[in-house]
């Protein structure tokens, strides 16, 4: 893992400089995390399907869920999948509420078979996958958060500089026009996003998940107060998971359009090519 800043290769110098962007731990963590989060999401949807409704508060007000995915007979007498939310009824036949199983048969279920792990309705196995993935994900998340906080350089990687805070509106406008700089340092918007995901969404996923456990409620009763009850925690767990899906979609989109090979290489070998006129992370510190 030598420092590539002084790469003597002339073509590299012409096209920009290769720098070491991601350490080994970050790269390993990133890919294991990807697998864990996909398993957690799909097994989570399997678990949700066992009772595809969400509530607010301590318990389930069965007559008036905040959200419900179900199937019913439409006006034409044909079965249809519906999502009920805030007094609205949305026809979601084919995807939510009523979808085709592996044999092409229409089946009443919350999320469709292609989105759940395992595919068929199988709550026990969904729970096994979910908790097994969580047992890998949670210790790795804890380790990564400590690793990030432990050194000044890595704290600076996710905490925007004063200039970056001030420049945030300009950075957003810049991104909205799909223009990307290739610098050693992350820009303010990137830092803020990673900050929110790493120290916000991911820990909140873990904590709302634990709040659903009756033994954890006895061990750490403050969880119930923080999230407003078990059913609220379940609803928040669901909302945060889709916030993570949104992050994933945007993250993937930006990786694809801002130089997919350079980005992928930086997360596999650690090396990232920056523009030849871009300052290094060192120069950037007090910018």
């Amino acid at each position: 893992m030598d420092n590539a800043n002084n790469n003597p290769h002339s073509t590299a110098r012409r096209r920009g400089r290769l720098i070491k962007r991601h350490g080994l731990f970050t790269r390993v963590w990133h890919w294991i995390n990807l697998v864990c989060l996909v398993v957690l999401l799909m097994s989570g949807l399997q678990i949700f399907n066992a009772h595809p409704a969400l509530y607010w508060g301590n318990d389930s007000n069965f007559d008036d869920p905040a959200l419900q995915i179900t199937a019913m007979r439409g006006d034409d007498g044909e079965p249809m999948g519906v999502v009920r939310i805030a007094g609205y009824r949305i026809n979601t036949t084919g995807v939510l509420g009523l979808s085709r199983d592996g044999n092409g048969e229409l089946d009443q279920r919350g999320f469709p078979a292609w989105a759940t792990l395992p595919g068929p309705q199988w709550l026990a196995m969904g729970r096994y996958w979910h908790f097994a993935a969580a047992w890998i994900f949670v210790p790795m998340l804890l380790a990564y958060l400590i690793y990030t906080l432990a050194s000044r350089a890595r704290r600076r990687l996710v905490w925007p500089t004063a200039a970056q805070w001030r420049g945030l509106p300009a950075t957003i406008a810049h991104h909205a026009r799909l223009k990307f700089d290739h610098k050693a340092d992350y820009n303010g918007l990137q830092k803020l996003t990673y900050l929110l995901v790493l120290f916000g969404l991911l820990p909140l996923m873990v904590l709302t998940g634990l709040t659903m456990s009756p033994t954890m409620n006895a061990a750490w009763p403050w969880l119930l107060d923080v999230f407003g009850g078990r059913q609220s925690a379940r609803t928040l767990h669901f909302i945060f998971s889709f916030a993570l899906v949104a992050f994933f979609v945007i993250h993937l989109g930006l990786v694809l359009i801002s130089g997919v090979l350079n980005n992928l290489r930086s997360m596999i070998t650690g090396r990232y090519r920056i523009s030849s006129d871009a300052p290094t992370a060192k120069d950037n510190r007090h910018a």
Binding site: A124, A218, R230
Partner: protein, 261 residues
Amino acid sequence: MRDRKLIVPDPKRRRLITGLGALGASAALTGCDSLSRNDQVKDLLGATDRLTRAAQRLVSSRASLAREFSESDIADTMRANGSTNPSNDDYKRHAANGFADWRLRIDGLVRQPADFSIDDLKAMPSRTQITRHDCVEGWSCIAKWTGAVLGDVLDQVRPTAEARYVVFHCADNIYGGPVKYYESIDMVEAYHPQTLLAYGLNDDRLPIANGAPLRLRAERQLGYKMAKYVMRLELVDSFAAIQGGNGGYWEDRGYEWWAGI
């Protein structure tokens, strides 16, 4: 626990999906679905059950209490799940005469096996608690339960030092199947102050739908642990010889023995 098999699909589907076997064999299986049927993968996933139990026992003390709620939090109806009206003749006979001849048998690894009538249990110090029932499916329901503290009842039969689990044998053939419902908890949960043999629900007699005449309340566990229509407690050092050997009806059908999460 070692060779637990994770076999059967979702328990509480009222209408079991037909043709699941065919589906399992179909080419539509994704990679993860075939992994879900691989024995080594099952063992690996099953290990997390023991890991979760160890971790949760570490962070929760023996006496840490489940939250208790106020009267205003009680749901209009306590949702009944699983069996709601056992149809076998024995149970129907007991129900017809108000469980007057019903006796709770406690035996196994105890020094004084004994039988208790409902009145015997009601004569013991009672506990009333308003707690939240959490189903493995995801829903919760708050109700007020009254019963004898299981620890007090066990003290009367004096478990031997070898006793590690209390097995609850029930009257109901769930979903009309060939076997009777059963469940088990370990001695830590059995002696927890909120663990009750409940005979009362919301200041009334426990209704048949919710497990009359007697059901278990183990408030730090999921609903499937809380056996209804309890007929007999058996104290054992291993549940390997009972039914499927995994310590409970749903455990024999792939669910975790540790139901604290």
